[in-house]
């Protein structure tokens, strides 16, 4: 009989090794799936993981996309990971991302066509505040009325999507857009365009912000007393209360940080790669970031790597659809497998397998 035995301490080795094993298992099982679909498995894997970076023909286009896609994923995932550490499950980053973009864009457009250098920083702050405010709704409801933040934050995503639709169709619609939905294009407004800082790298201010967030989150969680309180709340809520940590404060802090970072990510996206507020502006970064946060073991450096890996499977997946005619759903399945295997192998961090004769304890 196979038995799981709890380790006295979480294994350091397995903490690092499980994501790698998960990636390898995903490749193996994904390869089998591609083979069953009648596609060459090795080529499909190579197209997803290798070609976006090194293909002689496509890499020039797809390489910058890596940072463009990874930037918002990492920025949002860092914020989420802080809450997840405390056991506060903000599932609505997508909504906070939308509200950050809408708020920031609205503040910017109010000053159109100002050329002030202060305008873009102001918009970033407004975007972060927009996301923060949206995250405060589940925080207030949770602390005052004991509602479940998972449900509230998730449902607010759909509210945010409707606000986005109304913004792009009416109150933020470009007066020069001939009646088509969609705001003014920030790419045509140099003072606030979040352009690439170095050409053909995909590096924009959002990516810089993501890197700063990685470092800041690392320092917060490893060295600062608030980071300690957040971890303590997640590990042992009663011990946290005994220590003197106010549970409500942790809820506000965690939802606030994750909302603000998601909102900022939305602002960087709308002024940069997306360019304008449109009905379908949001593309699921807020949800994918949840996977990134777990893939990165809720560790800032892990999230940095996981964000890059996830971005790679996105770009590579698109490439595989294009070049091999793989169905889009199979790519999503492939990404889902990654999370599945990660969670499955995660067991070995805290448990080890014992092969023993069946005996009742």
């Amino acid at each position: 009989m196979i038995r799981l035995e709890k380790r006295p301490q979480p294994s350091r080795l397995w903490t690092v090794v499980t994501p790698l094993i998960a990636v390898v298992l995903t490749m193996v099982v994904g390869g089998i799936m591609f083979a069953l679909l009648g596609k060459p498995p090795l080529e499909a894997i190579r197209t997803i993981f290798w070609d976006p970076l090194f293909h002689p023909q496509f890499a020039g286009y797809s390489r910058p996309q890596l940072l463009v896609k990874a930037g918002p994923l990492i920025l949002i995932a860092i914020g989420l990971s802080i809450g997840f550490k405390a056991g506060i499950w903000n599932i609505g980053a997508e909504g906070q991302y939308i509200m950050g973009a809408v708020t920031g864009a609205a503040v910017g457009l109010a000053f159109y066509p100002s050329e002030s250098v202060l305008l873009f920083p102001l918009m970033v702050v407004a975007g972060a505040l927009g996301g923060w405010a949206w995250a405060m709704i589940p925080a207030v409801l949770k602390t005052r009325f004991g509602t479940n933040e998972i449900l509230v934050s998730l449902m607010l995503v759909y509210v945010a999507e409707n606000i986005l639709a109304s913004a792009s169709a009416s109150w933020l619609r470009s007066p020069e857009g001939m009646g088509f939905p969609g705001s003014r294009n920030f790419k045509q407004w140099p003072a606030v365009h979040n352009d690439e800082l170095i050409a053909n790298t995909g590096l924009h201010w959002g990516v810089v912000a993501a890197l700063i967030a990685v470092i800041a989150a690392y320092v917060l969680m490893a060295r600062h007393i608030q980071g300690y309180n957040i971890r303590l709340t997640g590990e042992a809520p009663r011990a946290a209360r005994f220590s003197g940590v106010s549970p409500a404060r942790i809820v506000f802090l965690c939802l606030g940080i994750s909302g603000a970072l998601a909102g900022a990510a939305g602002l960087f996206e709308v002024t940069g790669p997306a360019g304008q507020i449109t009905i379908d502006f949001n593309s699921g970064y807020g949800f994918t970031a949840i996977i990134v946060a777990f893939l990165g073991r809720l560790n800032p450096v892990g999230i940095l790597l996981a964000g890059l890996l996830m971005a790679l499977t996105y770009i590579g997946g698109e490439l595989a659809q294009l070049m091999l005619g793989l169905p889009g759903a199979s790519i999503q399945l492939f990404q889902g497998m990654l999370l599945f295997f990660l969670l499955a192998t995660d067991v070995f961090t805290n448990y080890r397998i014992r092969f023993a004769k069946g005996e009742l304890a």
Partner: protein, 506 residues
Amino acid sequence: MDTLLSIRGLTKAYPGVVANDDVSFDIGKGEIHALLGENGAGKSTLVKMIFGLVKPDAGEMVLDGAAYAPGKPSDARRSGVAMVFQHFSLFEALDVAENVALGMENPPKPRDLARQIREVSETYGLPLDPTRTVGTLSAGERQRVEIIRCLLQNPRLLIMDEPTSVLTPQEVDILFQTLNKLRAEGTSILYISHKLEEIRALCDEATILRLGKNVGTCTPREVTARQMAELMVGSSFNTPEARAGEKGAVLLRTDKLSLPAPGAFGTPLREVSLEVRAGEVLGIGGVAGNGQDELLMALSGERLAPAGTIFFKGQDVSRLGPVGRRDAGLLSGPEERLGHAAAPNMSLTENAVLTGARREGLVQGGFIDWGKSKAFAEKVIERFDVRTPGPGTAARALSGGNLQKFVVGREILQNPEVFVVNQPTWGVDAAAAAAIRQALLDLAAKGAAIVVISQDLDELMEISDRFAALNEGRLSPARAVAELDIEKIGLMMGGAHDMEVAHVDG
């Protein structure tokens, strides 16, 4: 009277503690047999062995003339042994009949079962509608579901683990009628409780356990509650000598401190008034679940008390949280080591920060000084002889006794002016327990006021200057330990409150 179950020399040891040591007694047919003892006396382990949940290390049982060694609860049930647990295992969303069916080996058809439930409930005077959803039932009604589930199997021996702890007085009357009826039909009942008056009213025989040993059998009707309390507490008890020396100023005082119960299974605090002076140890005894945890949380600041109820050196600290009280010099140590006093998955260094952050200056400008924290953890480990590979070890990797030394030492080394601790030596081996007690006495000698909440009476008598007992959230007036004798303690503890009420009513 014929013997139904004969228990001979049952022994069960867990690492560090012998839960049952050579326990023998007989349960007669149609007899209500009480199993009596303080918490930790080994009652649960014993019934778990009878019900097949735990295998004895030594000893044997004979059921109705045949050897009886159940390997699992279903073996026990097949032999006619049924058990009603203290905490119910029912599904709230399902109805009564469905819950009963889930606990049976071969449940009959739903309609037959509903009919059987009605029959049994009428026969034994346990009103219960099989179609009601369990979520809508009171605690007493839920217990009836469990009892009926057992009765449907026609048990020869019914084990009941503290059945009245969740019942209203009216429900207790109904239950006793049912049990008397079962006895009249020849069913034997093993009745676990520490409510003495209850046992006197109901039981034919009583076996008293103390520290895992059978310390005596008596016929409850023929002895007084006090005599039983003495057996329970132990005649080995010696009144300690009066402690010399004047005590200092009052450091901690509570004034009619009342707090509602924190949850469904909690106990409210009812007008708790106490005071402790510098250099004094106040021992608070009582049976578990009578407000010990709640009192500690109110004193530590985890649950804020109404203004004007808790005073530290004359200052009202009722509305201060744990951080404010710690800053002032009021420190505490909760009973539950893992999850309350310490975070299981965090290292000892991290756990040192848990309460030492400010008094030990481990945090500067919001940032944790890990070097200093590690040094503090190492100091606790060294001074309190905590056996561990090092301060990087996760708290859950430590044995109970070692972790206890760590969490108590962590507070003592912070030089508290008032230290409140719940069960400081629970589950700790004798040597470690002695060390912890000595550390508490040393702290008091240095002029700190100490409140020790414990269920170990010997411990309280050994280290306390004055003694009070908690009963259903009420604290008895404290008395100098030197004036106490076994009878007075028996009165103050478990049975005392019940007897006083009976007296007033009578």
